[in-house]
Symmetry: C2
């Protein structure tokens, strides 16, 4: 099934978000969604990125090492943002930064799981640090780090 | 007008992409697109991120410092990817990494310009390094750095 939230937010802030003091190092959340041709087309429409690598099988087969179309890397990245905005810390959290290392291509039919884990809590600034990654069949396709500011009490 | 490509790719690789040896430090490209309520809804649909901060004016007004809904930060980030995939280096370039520092919120009605500039060319690996930013009315809303691998001859 596509778009399932694996772990729902269960903090006491509005929208079931977590306040800073409800977070702890090692806390995890994830979100899984299938990438489809329709999703790739929708992402092309909303981003303006109609690069033939994503939309034209012939071009992608001939001019990339991937043998066919690949999804926009930012589509997988958006699933990381979904975990942050929907689950941990959840609604009201402010995105401070995100690094993205694209490790492998994602294709239509791949089921992507975005995982985030709290690696540090910076009390003075109210920031939570996360490691982030996306997996397809257990293989890392995208990884990085992020900083979020959870909602304040 | 939304979705205009300001500088078209003019390299000699397929899709008017630039080969590595056609790139030079200081080379720039940009892409401008208006963020709309429909675009925010479309991004929520494709990413699965239906965080009320993006979709529910009442929630966003009450529970964020922004006074109303803001766009997904990854929507602006996707415009940076659009410049890379469509213009410089253009189709066939492989995204290696991207850092994103979210500096200010973007709202429906804002016209976002994503700008990229080549800061270094790593001949040994065939990598091009870029500074990247998104602006609204001349104000930086998102900035970072990126590495791309342009198509090979």
């Amino acid at each position: 099934m596509s778009g399932d939230i694996i772990i729902k937010g269960a903090g006491s802030a509005p929208g079931n978000a977590y306040y800073f003091d409800e977070l702890e190092i090692g806390q995890k959340a994830s979100f899984t969604k299938e990438v489809t041709d329709a999703g790739i087309q929708a992402f092309a429409d909303v981003s303006g990125d109609s690069n033939p690598v994503h939309l034209d099988q012939g071009f992608a087969a001939e001019h990339t090492p991937f043998g066919g179309c690949i999804a926009h890397g930012m589509l997988s990245a958006s699933f990381i943002s979904t975990v942050f905005g929907m689950v941990l810390p959840g609604p009201g959290a402010i995105y401070i930064n995100q690094s993205l290392k694209f490790r492998a291509p994602v294709k239509a039919g791949d089921v992507v799981t975005a995982e985030v884990e709290i690696t540090d809590l910076i009390e003075k600034r109210g920031f939570a640090q996360f490691s982030t990654r996306c997996l397809v069949d257990g293989k890392v396709v995208l990884e990085g780090e992020a900083t979020l500011m959870p909602p304040k009490r």
